[in-house]
Amino acid sequence: MRQFYTDSTGAIAFETAAPTPDYALITGTLRDSLWDAKYNERSEDGQRYYHESQRSLYISFISGTYTFTEVKDYETYTANLADEIFKGNWLTAQDTCDNLSTSGIFDATKKAEIKSDIDNYILNNY
């Protein structure tokens, strides 16, 4: 997992290990404020992803691909997963997605698609 490091010039790096030559792990209040900002960022990204998903679902509904009942059932069934992504808890969302069995619109293809997006986000941001 990535952490925050800083060097003698004040540069901040978010990496899995301290970059060379002189980066050191950040501690204390600076570390806390950087994590606060990071979770704001993760939440903003989660909201963006959630709204894109809603857009796609709604277009499918108005074009007749899905019925209102199917969409409603999907939203109810995936509510926890959506909530975790929306709040920026991508790691928890990954676990939730892994353990959520397929149902209705949330079929194997949809599940794989969401899991892939979450995996990619974690790979690049955690």
Binding site: T9, A11, I12, Y23, S33, D36, E41
Partner: protein
């Protein structure tokens, strides 16, 4: 000369002044915008429009009739194609249009102005789909070219129809970004 003659002199039009046979003295020629001495305009002493109103705009900061006029940025806008993330970005214009056609792109730093020059740059994202991300204190750019962000956020996003103003602070030697809505 009587009082009425003096009053008449005060209310003379420029045409009437030009027609006087005896126009000795110093006055402002409202036709040419220059000081006139003994009937001859003083070239380099007056308010030459080409110098004091270079844009020929009657309400801008250069206009001598409205010196504290409408603020405007001058010069041609610069377009920067964000084909990759940009470190130590060199910007010459005051207005910058950013384009990206494939994915979100990051700006980690902008070349700092020389000491004594307090540069202000307006950035616009012209992409309808992708974000431009300003990066906080990135080691990918030289220290003096780095950007600092509100709340020490890792990045701040610039979306379509948003504009960010960056100004350089020589006390901290970093670029500051106005709050992005």
């Amino acid at each position: 000369m009587e009082v009425n003659d003096i009053l008449k002199l005060i209310s003379l039009t420029q045409t009437e002044i030009n027609a006087l046979s005896d126009n000795v003295g110093l006055y402002f020629n409202s036709t040419t915008g220059k000081l006139n001495l003994n009937g001859t305009d003083m070239n380099s002493q007056g308010m030459d429009a080409t110098i004091y109103d270079p844009n020929n705009v009657q309400d801008d900061a250069f206009d001598y009739e409205n010196f504290l006029g409408t603020f405007q940025l001058t010069g041609t806008a610069q377009t920067v194609s964000m084909s990759s993330d940009r470190d130590n970005l060199s910007i010459t214009a005051n207005i910058v249009n950013l384009t990206t056609s494939s994915q979100d792109r990051r700006i980690t730093g902008i070349v700092a102005p020389p000491t004594g020059v307090n540069r202000v740059i307006f950035f616009y994202n012209q992409s309808s789909q992708y974000r431009i991300k300003f990066v906080h204190q990135s080691g990918s750019s030289n220290a003096a070219n780095r950007i600092v962000l509100r709340g020490q956020a890792g990045t701040r996003n610039l979306l379509q129809f948003q504009m960010a103003v960056l100004s350089y602070n020589h006390l901290l030697n970093r670029w500051y970004v106005s709050r992005i809505g």
